[in-house]
């Protein structure tokens, strides 16, 4: 027990891998669903009628004022109440991540759309394009390029946040690590391993964001 014993880590790998799968699932659904819902919210806020725009703004400001843990708790208890039957921790976690991330993504997207200069709108509309066509064909493709580095950075944060699902009994990578560490009494080895994995994954993500940033300014 005195010396480091790394042997327990390989033995626990299949268990940890299951946890990693859940983390990656939450990341993928949170990113894709969050971006889609975030786009809708951003468009409502920018171009919607007054009342829906105000609701969208309240949604964004409200959710960004609440910690993710609380959102996870709420959906775990609220979704079954709303639909009248238990849904299980995973679906409620996925919904919570999409709804939470959408608040952040919508602000990134809104800033991205705002970064496209107004002459581009005028040029497209002067050629007879409708506002929808201008947005889809001219503004959003440019906005997306401008946002890409920040979207990747947000994904890195999201990946780290997936560890919070332990509060509703789900076993993500971090939770799996923690369980394995307690079982074998090898806390240092397992937590060092987990830190290494997070470091590699998140550094790769950050490096990708930097690379995208450089390509943009090149």
């Amino acid at each position: 027990m005195d010396a480091f014993d790394w042997g327990a880590v390989p033995a626990a790998l299949p268990f940890l891998l299951d946890g990693m799968q859940l983390s990656l699932l939450l990341l993928a659904v949170g990113m894709l669903g969050g971006t889609a819902l975030g786009l809708l919210v951003a468009l409502l806020r920018l171009f919607g009628p007054r009342i829906p725009a105000a609701i969208a703004a309240a949604y964004v400001d409200g959710l960004r004022a609440i910690p993710l843990v609380l959102v996870l708790f709420w959906f775990y208890f609220l979704v079954p109440l709303a639909i009248g039957r238990p849904v299980g921790a995973l679906p409620s976690a996925l919904i919570a991540f999409v709804i939470f991330e959408a608040a952040y993504y919508s602000e990134i997207i809104r800033a991205g759309i705002g970064s496209v200069r107004s002459g581009q709108w005028q040029a497209a509309q002067a050629l007879g394009m409708t506002r929808g066509q201008t947005l889809r064909l001219v503004v959003l493709p440019q906005a997306l390029r401008a946002m890409l580095p920040i979207l990747v950075t947000q994904a890195v944060i999201l990946f780290q946040d997936t560890s919070l699902v332990y509060v509703i009994g789900l076993r993500d990578f971090m939770t799996a690590t923690s369980i394995s560490a307690e079982e074998g009494g090898r806390l240092v080895e397992f937590y060092a391993f987990a830190a290494l994995v997070y470091l590699i994954v998140c550094s790769a993500g950050t490096e990708l964001a930097h690379a995208l940033q450089r390509r943009r300014s090149a």
């Binding site: 002459g119 581009q120 005028q122 040029a123 497209a124 509309q125 002067a126 050629l127 007879g128 394009m129 409708t130 066509q133 064909l137 001219v138 493709p141 440019q142 390029r145």
Partner: protein, 264 residues
């Protein structure tokens, strides 16, 4: 009986229609809050006419031509452009109007994420619903016309300012417009690139394109303008032939303006 027939004939013959101005700007005014940027602007533009609009900066020249295709809403007066009432036009009419009246901007405003060819094809394909192959073929013809046949695959950022502006002119021409509006097309260019853009515009004028051009290029105005309009403080102060305007401007303000821009 005879009278009825002759009236019917008179109202449908070519000469009568050809005389109706393509563009009628009638008493147009615009204000941002308490700031009056345009007041009482009245101007007719005939088919095939080239009208140059000049005046000091802030005089409302750009605002006026952006009113013509409805990019800038105005609060007073009326604009009839090819039969469309721009101010009261429904969105559908505005879209239809804009497909027929092209615009070239000071800062080119090419779509930076698309190749030159895609820049030229985007609106013909998505707005006019032309088949891609047809739009691409037309785009290649237009690139030849503006002297850039080998730039179809380039991105706008890889071109010089003069080349970008020539692509922007080709992009406007790709819609087969009946008129073109130019908003200071050479103001953002380095001096050595002004000529190549003006050459393309002179060609267009000689081919009979109806053009409204906001510019300070007086050489261009002398060469091709049928009329010169001088604006100051949101008003059309003077309208005349190019020769008349340059040799004998009638208003003090126009004389002052000309002496300032021609003295260096």
């Amino acid at each position: 009986m005879n009278a009825t027939v002759s009236v019917a004939v008179a109202s449908s013959t070519e000469p009568v229609l050809a005389q109706a101005p393509l563009l009628r700007i009638d008493g147009v005014g615009k204000s941002y809050g308490t700031v009056q940027v345009l007041s009482g602007c009245t101007l007719d533009v005939q088919r095939g006419e080239v009208v140059v609009i000049c005046g000091p900066s802030g005089s409302g020249k750009s605002t006026l031509i952006k009113c013509v295709n409805g990019l800038v809403p105005f609060n007073a007066g009326r604009i009839l452009c090819d039969g469309v009432d721009v101010g009261l036009g429904r969105q559908v009419d505005l879209v239809r109007l804009r497909t027929r009246v092209g615009m070239v901007f000071q800062n080119f405003e090419l779509y930076p994420h698309l190749s030159v060819l895609e820049n030229l094809c985007l609106a013909p394909v998505h707005v006019l619903r032309r088949p891609r192959s047809e739009a691409a073929e037309r785009a290649h013809q237009l690139l030849v016309r503006v002297g850039l046949p080998d730039k179809a695959g380039s991105l706008p950022g890889q071109l010089s300012g003069g080349q970008q502006q020539r692509v922007a002119i080709a992009r406007a021409l790709a819609m087969d417009p009946i008129a073109l509006l130019f908003d200071e097309p050479t103001s953002a260019l380095d001096p050595e690139m002004v000529g190549e853009v003006l050459d393309v515009m002179v060609e267009l004028a000689r081919d009979g394109m109806t053009m409204m051009v906001v510019t300070h290029e007086m050489g261009f105005a002398r060469k091709v303008a049928d009329r010169v309009v001088f604006m100051d403080a949101g008003r059309i102060v003077e309208t005349g032939t190019a020769d008349g305007f340059f040799s004998e401007p009638t208003t003090e303000r126009a004389r002052g303006f000309l002496s300032r821009i021609l003295s260096h």
